[in-house]
């Protein structure tokens, strides 16, 4: 079934979305803002207007059945647009912007790990910056001192990060409350000092950090022609080549996390978050699941660190301190806790916001110079923006951007879910941790 009322609202929404996308791309490529910021504001107003009108009407503009032909067409179109952007992004933007997108990708993989803990287990970790550091440093050290290829280092990094995650997680996760936040926050501060200890600093480079030497860095290889890199300048070639490598790893990470969440263990972890006592009564071993989830999330953070080493070919102890951990938290809540897309959206938003705050002054936005707001470029006060964003999110957008987008979509489009048939219900019941026979018999 498909029902379309007042198509102009949907049209307004779609047009606003396109205008917003266009103005963002233009703002990213041009130094001069021109009228594009105003178009962006207009587009946001258009979206808000469409949403509000649809909400006042009390019924979404478009109603389709899940799995119907119309629904599948829309979904395919959506994935098509997404795929188009994935392919086109590196070629539309200049190499500096591509590097920023790459930055968001290593961030996104680490944020995925944080999301497993904060979003899906409901625990708070402030130490994933250190796990990223483990990944970045191990890859640099193994490549430089032990003759590994960069991709081979993953086989060392992943198990080691898991074990370190367990060591940090076991003491804190046995007890309820903010203890994990406490331990991991201390870890964030301790980690850089650990790397600078006499003896260890021979490997980590101490305060200066280590580089991967030029001949061992990732260089555009045989795929040059296939990726359309011939004829581009060297930085663009390098960034686009790295974009594709990183997009591959990021894509695999997202798939893995999606499967983990949908697995038996993932649902058990979510059950712990929703109701700890209920989960325990249903036979979920609380501590085991929490600790293993923490270990897995540490692995994703370390893979994020590995991507960092791939992108920048260096690692410095001071990078992986408490500020990075809080940035990961900020990216996560910007995008949306408890959503998969949130990790990517939030990382993109964070990286671009962080760049904006250091480069753009308030006076340069519109040429208007209110003396009270004059802040020099790169002033330390711009750091307050990040703090302000944290507070604003907690108050006005606890679900982040993805949550807002979903609300907008829900007020415009409603998908009527199909009712599960009997076989689906039965197989789901067998699969769920609640009906495990061994749980029923041991008590």
């Amino acid at each position: 079934m498909i029902k379309l009322q007042r198509p102009w609202i949907l049209g307004l929404g779609a047009a606003s979305l396109v205008a917003l996308g266009l103005s963002i791309i233009h703002l990213l490529n041009k130094e001069k803002a021109g009228f594009w910021p105003f178009l962006a504001i207009l587009a946001i107003a258009g979206l808000a207007g469409a949403t509000l009108t649809a909400q006042r009407a009390g019924e979404p503009v478009l109603i389709v059945n899940e799995g119907s032909r119309a629904h599948r067409t829309w979904q395919t179109a959506g994935w098509g647009i997404f795929a188009f952007f994935v392919v086109a992004t590196p070629y539309l933007l200049d190499s500096f912007r591509v590097q920023q997108v790459n930055k968001s990708m290593y961030f996104a993989v680490a944020v995925l790990g944080v999301n497993l803990i904060i979003g899906y287990s409901g625990l708070i970790s402030l130490g994933h910056g250190a796990f990223m550091g483990v990944g970045a440093f191990l890859s640099v050290i193994l490549v430089e001192d032990y003759g590994f290829k960069l991709w081979q280092t993953l086989f060392v990094i992943i198990p080691l990060a898991f074990v370190i995650g367990l060591i940090v997680g076991i003491p804190a996760l046995r007890i309820k409350g903010l203890y994990l936040a406490l331990v991991t926050f201390a870890l964030s501060y301790a980690f850089p000092t650990l790397l600078k200890i006499e003896g260890i600093d021979k490997r980590t480079g101490g305060d200066l950090g280590r580089n991967i030497s030029l001949d061992k860095q990732v260089q555009p290889g045989r795929l040059k022609g296939l990726l359309g890199l011939n004829g581009l300048d060297a930085p663009a070639q390098e960034q686009i080549y790295k974009y594709w490598l990183m997009a591959l790893v990021t894509g695999i990470s997202f798939l893995l996390v999606r499967n983990i969440i949908k697995s038996r263990a993932g649902r058990a972890v979510i059950a712990i978050k929703e109701n700890q006592i209920g989960a325990a009564v249903s036979g979920v071993p609380l501590t085991t699941y929490k600790v293993i989830t923490f270990g897995i999330s540490a692995v994703f953070a370390s893979v994020g660190g590995w991507l960092y080493a791939l992108l920048f070919s260096e690692a410095n102890p001071n990078t992986f301190g408490p500020l990075l951990a809080i940035s990961l938290l900020l990216a996560l809540v910007l995008g949306g806790v408890y959503t998969l897309q949130g990790a990517l959206v939030g990382s993109l938003l964070y990286v671009f916001l962080d760049d904006l705050r250091t480069r753009v002054t308030l006076t340069s936005v519109a040429g208007w110079r209110p003396s009270f707001f004059q802040i020099a470029e790169g002033s330390p006060l711009t750091q307050a923006v990040l703090g302000l964003v944290l507070i604003l999110i907690a108050f006005f957008a606890p679900g982040g951007v993805v949550f807002i987008a979903r609300k907008v979509r829900a007020s415009l489009i409603r998908v009527i879910p199909t009712i599960p048939t009997a076989d689906v219900v039965a197989s789901a019941a067998v699969d769920s941790p609640m009906s495990e026979p061994e749980v029923a018999t041991t008590h």
Binding site: P171, G177, A186
Partner: protein
């Protein structure tokens, strides 16, 4: 021996400063089971305010420090009312976001308003080269002894407030059982507000004392905050006396014990003072592993 005694006093005075900040953390944790990550930022800002009052306006230093602490108490009570109270304390994430947001903003404003270079800060106690008493060859400096004295006064004060005043009684009621306290007519919101103000005052005083030893800069309380976390965990996150004793123990481990281990135990020559943060982290891990309630904290029974 005299060197050891001297280092003992140094350790005790460092520990006293950790203890004061740890008491501030405990006050908020007791009432709400929240950890205030902005405590370091508030203390740092209090020290800058003390700098404004005492150095720039020329007030006596002790008055300056107390005024700075009082300003931070007002700020903290405002923060509690506007930013923290709307949230359910059982939901940790928003409060963590907000306390970090406040810490960011305070640091940014301090770096912007007061500059990013290190500033020296005087001690409220005599700190000239000859201001010390000698016991068995050890020079016990007044500035060090004074800090320990302040800690004792502060702890006495907080016990007086909690045990002899009406609002203290209300605070104890709220921390023991918020729901029951509400039922018998305690204004929980106002009481928690008082708790935040009291904690910020402690932080502000600690900031004014620490600044003399570390110099002022927008991040000078960060390290202290980690040590205070360790102190509060060691003593038990809901025990004020525990926080003090935990602070003193950590101070002693950091100053006299660590150099002794480095000098006399073979194989430990890599122990430097930078490593103290790592020691604090390992200590938190160890306490949570062995005795999660800390030395003096109440063991919480969880109905699972």
């Amino acid at each position: 021996m005299s060197l050891f005694l001297q280092r003992m006093i140094e350790g005790l005075s460092n520990g006293a400063m950790y203890g004061v900040v740890a008491v501030a953390l405990v006050i908020i944790f007791k009432a709400t089971t929240l950890i205030n990550f902005a405590q370091g930022g508030l203390a740092m800002f209090g020290a800058y305010m003390a700098n404004v009052f005492a150095i720039e306006q020329g007030l006596p230093l002790i008055v300056g420090i107390l005024l700075g602490a009082a300003v931070m108490a007002v700020v903290a009570s405002g923060i509690e009312r506007v930013l923290v109270r709307p949230f359910d304390p059982a939901n940790h994430l928003p409060v963590v976001l907000i306390t970090f947001g406040i810490a960011y903003i305070l640091q940014a404003v301090a770096a912007w308003k007061f500059g990013t270079e290190f500033k020296s800060f005087p001690s409220p106690f005599p700190s000239g080269p000859n201001d010390h008493i000698e016991i068995a060859g050890a020079r016990l400096r007044y500035e060090r002894l004074g800090v320990v004295l302040v800690l004792m006064i502060m702890v006495g004060l907080v016990h007086l407030i909690l045990n002899k005043t009406k609002i203290g009684l209300a605070f104890r009621a709220v921390s023991s059982n918020t729901e029951s306290a509400k039922l018998v007519g305690v204004k929980t919101g106002r009481t928690l507000n008082f708790g935040w103000a009291l904690a910020a005052m402690f932080g502000g005083v600690a900031g004014g004392l620490v600044a003399h030893f570390t110099q002022l800069d927008s991040g000078f309380m960060d390290k202290i905050l980690i040590f205070s976390f360790a102190a509060a965990t060691l003593g038990g996150l809901d025990s004020i006396n525990g926080a003090v004793i935990g602070g003193l123990i950590i101070g002693l481990v950091e100053s006299p014990v660590q150099p002794m281990v480095r000098d006399y135990v073979p194989g430990f020559h890599f122990l430097t003072s930078d490593l103290a943060l790592l020691v604090a982290f390992l200590l938190i891990l160890a306490v949570l592993l062995v005795k999660p309630a800390g030395l003096f904290g109440t063991t919480r029974v969880e109905r699972v």
